[in-house]
Amino acid sequence: MSYFDNKVPPKREDRLSAVIAHQDSICGLARKGKGGKSCLIDDGERGFTQGTICLLLPALAMLNSLPDNVVLLHSALGCGSCTHSQNANVRMGSNARRGKAQDGIWLSTALDETDVISGGEDKLERAIIEADRRYRPASITIVAGCVPGIIGDDIDGVAQRLQPQVSAKLLPVHCEGFKTKIWATAYDAVYHTIGRNLLEEKGVTEHTPQDELEVLREQERLARTVNLMNVSSMGRVDEQELERLLVSLGLEVNVFPVFAHPDSFVKATRAALSISTCPTHDDYFLGYLEERFNVPSIIKHMPIGIENTSLWLRDVAARFGFEEQAERLIAAEEAELKEALEEFRPLFHGKKVFVSAGEFRALATARLLQEIGLEVVGIRSFHHDHFAEVEYEKLAREAKTDYVVDIANVQPFEEANLLNRLKPDLFLGHANGNMTASKLGIPTHVIYNTGLAYIGYRGVYELARRLHRQLSNPAYNRNLAENLRLPYSDAWYQAEPFSYLNTRGRSVNE
């Protein structure tokens, strides 16, 4: 039986043994990977924790991007207010793709004390009907937060009951935050509803072919059409870079699923290949596309950095027998890029950098930073699973000396302690995760922002260019450090950075 036959997708701690609390080093992790045991790392527990995000946030980042979709949060009032910042991405993204900045539409059933006691299904039913009539959307994504998860509201049952009464496609999405520690489960939650509800052909889509030539042409086109997976970790500028590379190999690109119209999702089932840009994002769905629709997939390297972009491209080319073309393209691209990077290298030389982000993003970006001449001295990645092994190996191979890897769902107190010891010259962190390094006076750059370029060869150059700019005048952060302090006690800076990882968290099954 497929996971997709169940109402709720599995959480990643169960499906992938993903962990969020672990202390290690890059060489240690690479060794475990080689022995095939890194999936056996036990997850730890911290005795002190700071607030993070839950799966609801990345899920909403995807759902709000879908044109003609209304997001209906079934939860207490505040869940999903994060959309106020994600809406900037929706506006910018729709402007870049359709020439018009458009706000997302998100609603909340705003469960109150009465609903908590008597259940919220009736309210949800009325909300769905009113949303369908008011906005006339193609789809309504019904997103459950924590409260319905505890009081036992059945959003799938409600969707099933109401579907005949409304014109929008109803898509239940499970984002009960307390149920999983691994917020990457968000991608599975969204893909789960896409897989269950949007991939089957509806109505008459088999148009009668005009003549055999047209049939052949269509078959030929589909035979070189690839799904390029983007769950919103790439802006349009990054999509364009990958499209450029794929098109120059002779492929057609279907970017999926962000900013794709829900009615067009079915296209993904007809492609010749699905290409992931990040194993953290896509494995759950690509497995399903293979199993259910025979669409093969590649999910290995993230096209961030020179080596990784070339590896990613080679894998794709090999599937179509385009190896020679790919080698020519790669050689030309790499030569051009390396020459262009020379301008920045002197300033980067000998500088130490600490990297923090989601599992794959952090690791792939660290490799990029090595390539442009920086020395990686520490990585904090938001979770660990076996997909990361290949990246640990690449990084360990190039490391001058071994360095710390902190597996933590943000937890800036550990980072503050580590940065205070390591004193890097540069820090790259995820959105809303750069304040700690900034206040310590470290030049800081955001590792993910959909308005900026990070991906492919272009991304290497643009990131290098921005880092060069940051390092050329880090006065803003230096001023902060001279005049502000982080809230951590002196005792904490003197304590071991992993003091609050319990013994279970430190032990590793080797």
Binding site: G47, F48, T49, Q50, G51, T52, I53, C54, L55, L56, L57, L72, A76, L77, G78, C79, G80, S81, C82, T83, H84, S85, Q86, A88, Q102, D103, I105, W106, L107, S108, T109, A110, D112, E113, R126, A127, E130, R134, Y135, C146, V147, I150, G177, F178, K179, K181, W183, N409, V410, P412, F413, N432, G433, M435, P487, Y488, S489, A491, W492, Y500
Partner: protein, 447 residues
């Protein structure tokens, strides 16, 4: 307004408001007893709505949080909270720790006060507030934190000190201009010679807040926000309170000073002298705008969309100070019917004699429909009294509406995604000048 959902809610939950409020207190450390995602949700929200302000000394993703999981849902979360408080006291330096509950621990029935009181008995400066998201919006969360301070933090039985007042009603981060607005109102009160405790400005201290019970009057700059705390304050500390509107601009500041003067029985001549001097300054500064105001024809019809504080205060400013024609005022809070008349009264009898149409509507997509009811659309006639030239003062969610009616727009009320706000404020005489600069600036931006 829909009975069944809130569209693009312009607020967080009560936990979100409470966490922001504690972060804004001097040395305030929120300890969330909640699921892990709540803090991130608040940080993201502030990023998109609070004029580019996220967190502070201990906000954003820095806030300690128990991050309850399924284990706690099954077995209860009080032990986890105790562990979290113990470790927080070791890791985080703060002046006042405030435990705030989210939905999950409340639904499962955790008793945070049982835990918090153990620490209080050991002399730890810690209090708790029950702020689960299903209890209300972020404005109410602000009120709940003030109530917790009033109940469990302020010294009791202090003698009243003449001329000392507390000031609240402006909600940190929910009002992106909170710092400037508190400073502006504080400045007005200081002109009267009062000693002001405003809780959230750099001039405030925890010592001052502890002694807030010595105030002879509480001044609440809001018909809604902080009202619960003001009533509780009166009950616990015997300090009465006055409710005023947010004093934006010259007319409202004058009313504000007179109202406070009367409540404190200040010498009317002192109050009159202050008003006269400030108005003289105000008009001296406004004076050179006049040529362009007239020559560029800068009078506008207006639609005002904002929270309970802003909607009425901005309407009054536009009508009474600028001589504009605000024909539609949309209050975006979901206000119980009992609370609506007080707000309606704020715009019923404006000094200019102009009157707006007040509606209560939370959903941005419905504003155009309300305008169409107030101002009939053209029906193909040759001569049509159009709603033009117009201006929209609202939140960044009103950008699409402003485009639809072809009007320039200024974001003032939450969410303010498209402006950077640090300590700009619109309260007081000076604040009125700032707001005039900002609205006229939008009109002439392409000049």
């Amino acid at each position: 307004m829909s009975e069944n959902f809130v569209e693009r809610a312009r607020y967080l939950c009560s936990l979100g408001g409470a966490a922001a409020t504690v972060t804004a207190l001097p040395g305030g450390i929120p300890i969330l007893h909640s699921a892990s995602g709540c803090a991130g949700n608040f940080a993201w929200t502030q990023n998109g709505g609070s004029g580019l302000q996220v967190g502070g000394y201990c906000g954003g993703l820095t806030v300690p949080s128990s991050n309850v999981q399924e284990t706690e849902v099954v077995f209860g979360g009080e032990d986890r909270l105790r562990e979290q408080i113990t470790s927080t006291l070791k890791v985080i330096d703060g002046g006042l720790y405030v435990v705030l509950t989210g939905c999950v621990p409340e639904v499962i029935g955790d008793d945070i006060f049982a835990v918090v009181n153990d620490f209080r008995e050991e002399g730890v400066p810690i209090i708790g507030a029950v702020t689960g998201g299903f209890r209300g919006d972020s404005y109410w969360g602000y009120d709940l934190v003030l109530q917790a301070l009033v109940k469990d933090y302020l010294d009791k039985g202090l003698a009243k000190v003449k001329g000392r007042v507390n000031l609240w009603g402006v909600v940190p981060y929910m009002d992106p201009f909170w710092r400037g607005n508190l400073e502006g109102a504080r400045h007005l009160l200081e002109l009267l010679g009062l000693e002001v405790n405003s809780f959230f400005t750099p001039a405030d201290t925890l010592e001052g807040i502890r002694e807030a019970g010595a105030a002879e009057l509480n001044i609440v700059l809001s018909d809604l926000y902080g009202q619960g705390a003001a009533a509780l304050f009166q009950e616990k500390h015997g300090t009465p309170f006055v409710t005023t509107s947010l004093p934006i601009g010259v007319s409202a500041s004058e009313t504000f000073l007179r109202q406070v003067g009367a409540a404190l029985e200040l010498d009317p001549e002192l109050v009159q002298n202050v008003i006269a001097r400030e108005k003289r300054h105000y008009y001296q500064i406004l004076e050179p705008l006049t040529d362009c105001y007239i020559d560029l024809d800068l009078q506008r019809y207006a639609v005002v969309v904002g929270d309970a504080n802003y909607a009425v205060a901005l309407t009054r400013f536009l009508a009474d100070d600028l001589g504009w024609l605000p024909v539609l005022t949309v209050v975006t809070d979901r206000i119980h019917e009992n609370g609506q008349p007080a707000l309606a009264a704020r715009v019923e009898q404006l000094a200019s004699g102009f009157s707006t149409n007040l509606v209560f509507e939370s959903d941005a997509s419905q504003v155009l429909g309300h305008l169409n009811q107030v101002w009939p659309r053209a029906a193909g006639q040759k001569y049509y009294n159009a709603f033009s030239p117009a201006f929209v003062v609202g939140s960044s969610l009103e950008r699409e509406f402003a485009l639809q009616i072809g009007a320039p727009h200024l974001s003032v009320s939450f969410p303010v995604a498209n402006r950077a706000v640090l300590d700009r404020g619109y309260t007081g005489f000076r604040g009125g000048l700032r707001l005039a600069e900002d609205v006229f600036g939008q009109i002439v931006a392409n000049r």
